[in-house]
Subunit: 362 residues, 5 copies
């Protein structure tokens, strides 16, 4: 199918707003963030040249497309479907791609087209309330341009932009494929940060668990952590497959020298993945550990009860005996009867103590 | 084997009613719903043309078959085997297909024939009692027709029909293969709805678990949820394989441009599948969580008992001592003996309180 | 190796009785059932012709072998090795096959030979004591004959024989390969029956678990069920592989039109297998559920104890105070001292009740 | 690399004693058994001929090598490295093979060389103390000889030798490859015996678990069983791979007719493997079962306590009331006060009994 | 890409210090150990020749590169990035390799380049505090040289150096590929040592668990062990893949005769891996075992409590009865009332003892 024909199809098909059960290929934002103004952040660079500006007018983006420079258009805000459609049609993006860009629960994937690659991935970060949020990001990589679509402005690409501006690293001298790699590399680097944060939370929880103070919320905390690790997995596992496939794709869009970097990136995502699996194991194990600490505490409680009751119940019984009002109870008239009884009570007391010591309960 | 020969075989072989151990290829409805009248819902459309009517007479369906339009015949009610056989013979469906159409516990699968594709899948929905029910649906996709067979009229295809009627999306301009895709897409979309419902039930159960009020039915609720997730899995996992194979089938029945859509559909079913696996993990984990909450509660109960008993049993013992009737008990004659004793009892009381405070039980 | 040579080898090698560590290829019955008389049930049929008779004389079977009809020889009783050897040598069965026929713990498998296929499978049924028993069955399918070997007469093939006799279904008009398929189909159908029975037992156990009455045997029942599901798995899993391989075998013995039926059979065995896995999961989960019900019950027991003890121990202490015999206890002489005390006891009582109500223990 | 060159290398390289971190290819016994005299058991046979003798002189073995007979040299005792080296050099075994022969913790494997196959496997048996011990065995199979190396004389090959001597089975008439198969077959047969023994231990443990008598060592017994099953797995799993590869090797050393037997052997080892997995599951499940029996017992203990305490604590409180010494306690002066109280105590008693009966605790 | 060009790129790109989000290919040490002086340990050898010296000047290493001898340069200390860059540039190492050398959390991997192989692996050892530490090691193997980069001087290569010096084994006569193998072999051997140590810790923990003395830290110890086994897995699992790939690589750098040794190495790493999995299973099982021992102990505690309470609470009640002050209590006036009561108390006492004996609680 030629790009021309595809373009035509989409212009006839796309609807302004998409509800459930709409036709596949309909572009309708499904996320929560509502930035009414789509904001474009355009960087245009070559080895010698660097230019960056921001705009809200989609059309401003187009004048850079045909230049000999590499153009990186970062779109913030997906709620205005018209803007996405305008941009998408200009770059001749397939309707399904346009749909995926605004479908925020689309899982990470890679689609190969003749003239561009389309990659969906997730950006993860802990927000101010220490809640893990994930952001839907799409990327289109063409011959001399890269488009990225975010729900809201993130801070993950900051360093990358700086490197672009100051010409650090090899980034300025090479093509759009290297830029694509650098963006993915920034994302994977970010995963490491997220996992470090999670690992801290896990260690805090472990300390809480082994600590003296009881915290009835630990079960909920563990459950929370489980959900977070599942969220991370949901972002990482498919991205691993994406990068794996990226390594194997045969396309003129990716130069041979970039492959080494993608292979490196694949190593990193595997490392992320392994860490996720390990932390998953650890979190799942936490529940067992918590169970044993609960049982241990109950054991201690029971011991205190048992020791107190076992010592004093028999003694109370003895006292009860001599509290009876029988007429004929000779012991009551013994001169030292009371002292004899006190003495035997002390004996019983120490016998019990010795018994519990021997059982190592004391 | 030519379609002619196949047709012959089936007309001699098919029996009116099929019990267990009947010959394979026998058409006998195995479900519970008994709609005596098979109901046909026929949509005939092309880019310019749309026509829909309902009928109970099988033969009415045949006049549309040879037209240049796409014909979608939806059959509601599988209990009348004769109707299915009549229809099946007309479209030259293999006896095994006719059997699978009415065998409601047939698992999802795809069979390739020279002149049509046969797909079995399950429709899931929660009924009015919040019970998950699954409905057996079969689909035959030929060159210019699609047949679907349902046990009872469902509401999943409503939006699709509307899109067909109003010519929304690309659906009217393309072939039967796209209609097949659109039907499967509606089914997978429906799975998302079902999973959302399950996820709500899961969260309610979690709240119940962490809530104060004890609910002795939680174990049964968890078991119920386990069964539901297994039911969903049973529908989703084989459908994933079906769509995967659909993607790879090389058949003139599916146009090349539809492949992109099927790939997209595969992405969706994988997403459903991952969600199912995640919820499965969560539900299985619930049991552990419930166990810890039970243990936590028992711990609390035990502590109350231990504190009460540990404080009052020794005190009662002390009171017991001075309730004894020994003649010679000098303390009893002390002027302030009673007050001294009360004082030491208060001391013991606070010593115990301090002890339990230090142990963080209070 | 030609069939001739093979025949020679076996006639020199076979021993009358085989103990452990005998040479491989030795035919020695390893099962428990001892039917001294091997019983043959021979059905000879073609499209127009049907003939069935039973015999104890092996040689009677041979006169039908060369006819143009399909011959199905069902052998009941494997304890008489000589009979098996006679029959096996006549049909030129490889010594290893003869060994496998009488080795009742041989796992399901398929062996391809040039002139026949050899399939081992297991028949499962619950006996009168509701114990799951498995029966070793072997089948040899040659160009125009099928041999089946059972330990004891089963009832699984009854329907099949009837269909053969009355010419129902397609079975009479087609070759030995279809008969082989029909036999396997009857076996897989039987697995569904067995699983249904197991599912009933599982549900009964679940009801018992959630029921009021305590049943100390539940653990043993669960263990029993575990063993049964493992037994079923041991029969089903390898048979699935057998049928899978049967689907892929390239042999002139299986006609192309039978392949469709075998594929269908494969669908069924996969369905059986999935059910087994699901029930396995359910049974393994039962233990956890049982554990929580035990803990729940213990929780309830503990609460009763705690409430009774927490209410009455302090009250008893109060009574103990005023049971002391101190000379100087002014309260004892108060006119309404007793009533004041009774009043405060009632207060304490209701305070405790209120406390436990607030804790939702009452 | 030619056999000549290999031989040269090894004669220069081999060291008398090998400690950790020695050069790879160094022959140094790592086991525990110290039979100072290497003992050779040589069987030389052909269809008509059988000769067996034992010796301690390695050189005695060499005269048989070039004969037209099949020679099986079984070496007992691996502690004398020089003997192994002498023998190994004579048969031109690669230094790595010589190392593997004496490295008793080498896992089962198969190595293909041009002129021989080298197989390492484990022999398992329960010793007199019912401890599972594994013995390292290596086998070299050349054109007309088989070498086996054992740490100590085992009894597994006894039947095989007898069959060789008396010409039972097909063993005498065929080549060294069949002997290799027969040896492996004896080993796999032996695994069945070991698993039977384990299965008996498992059943005994289960009986213990469900029995009345408490046995505090059950946890240790289960742990022991776990270790044994892991030990068996460690022997069986890699041997399965070895036999699988043996089936697929293309080498002139194995005749085509032996393949059928190896396939059979593979069936057997798979069966062993499945049994191991099933028993593993059972043993792992034992822990859960034990846990529930403990909890059940605790439940019973708690019930006795609760019933006793709930009945007698209130009664004791009642008695305590009327043990008080208040001046003004009118009930004390009632004529039948005592009997009224006794009556109400009996009432309370039966009320409690009724309560516990209703709760099904009695 | 030619080596020349690569060299150029790296000299322009490398930064002195690398923080997070630096450009990929930037060489910046990420570990903790700060040895300011990079230390080189150079061994230069051939069959007849052996020379070793240490230096801190990177340039000293270069004069040996072009000799006909094999040169092994071991670099201790990675904190001085300039040194690594100087060395790396001299040997024309790709910037990504230089980055990996100093990135201490890089997971084990193998990268093939035209002129060298690059392998990353981990060295494990227990430090003086019995903490498991892992050290990042990289190795570059070229035609006639091997470079190894360690964070700090380890002792794992000591034996290897000795063998090199004294010409033991085949090591001196063969190429750099064999040296590479010998280094990896030393590392895998070291893993066995580490696992042995872990296995000892595991057994100690098991003894603790089954021992009488309670140790509240057992949960933490198990958790610690879990983390260690995960650490080992993280080193072993990817190295297994590395060696597997090493076995399959087709490169002129590895001579054919070395392949046999690599295959052997692969056997060893699989053995390590299996042990790791087994110990992992064992450690995970420990938690369950610990849980049962806790429950068992609680059971015992509960029994003591129940027995004491059940015996003495009824007796105390009896004593309470006759401690009441009713006017009309005829028993009190019986001559032997007291003795009758004592007698019945003894009866009750022994009845309880008998009851608990029958229940096997005593």
């Amino acid at each position: 199918m030629s790009a021309k024909r595809r373009k035509k199809q989409q212009t006839t098909k796309i609807q302004p707003k998409r509800a459930k059960n709409l036709s596949p290929g309909t572009v309708s934002y499904t996320g929560k963030k509502t930035i009414t103004n789509t904001q474009l952040d355009i960087i245009d660079y070559s080895k010698e040249h660097y230019n960056r500006f921001e705009t809200h007018a989609i059309e401003d983006a187009f004048k850079y497309e045909d230049s000999t420079h590499i153009t990186w258009i970062n779109v913030n805000g997906l709620s205005n479907a018209d803007d996405i459609i305008t941009l998408g049609n200009h770059f001749e993006l397939h309707p399904l791609i346009q749909e995926d860009i605004v479908t925020t629960n689309q899982r990470p994937k890679i689609d190969e087209y003749e003239e561009y690659l389309f990659i969906v991935f997730k950006m993860l970060h802990y927000d101010d309330n220490e809640l893990l949020t994930n952001e839907h990001v799409s990327m289109v990589m063409g011959k001399d341009y890269v488009l990225t679509f975010q729900e809201a402005e993130g801070d993950v690409f900051g360093d990358l932009r700086e490197r672009l501006e100051h010409g650090k690293g090899r980034i300025r001298g090479v093509g759009a494929d290297y830029l694509m790699f650098a963006i993915l590399d920034a994302v994977v680097d970010n995963y490491f940060t997220v996992i470090d944060f999670l690992s801290n939370k896990l260690e805090l929880l472990e300390d809480k668990l082994f600590g003296d103070k009881e915290d009835p919320n630990i079960t909920e905390d563990i459950q929370e952590l489980k959900k977070e690790i599942l969220k991370i997995r949901k972002a990482v596992v498919p991205l691993r497959e994406v990068i794996n496939r990226l390594e194997k794709i045969e396309t003129p869009l990716i130069e041979e020298r970039t492959n080494k970097y993608i292979r490196d990136l694949y190593d990193h995502i595997i490392q992320v993945n392994e860490s996720v699996e390990i932390y998953r194991d650890m979190i799942w194990g936490l529940m067992d550990m918590y169970m044993t600490t609960i049982s241990n505490k109950m054991n201690e409680v029971m011991k205190v009860l048992t020791i107190m009751a076992s010592i004093f119940i028999p003694l109370t019984f003895l006292a009860g005996i001599y509290g009876m009002n029988f007429k004929n109870m000779p012991e009551l008239d013994f001169k030292y009867g009371y002292y004899y009884l006190l003495g035997s009570m002390v004996l019983v007391f120490f016998a019990m103590i010795w018994y519990f010591k021997r059982k190592k309960w004391l």
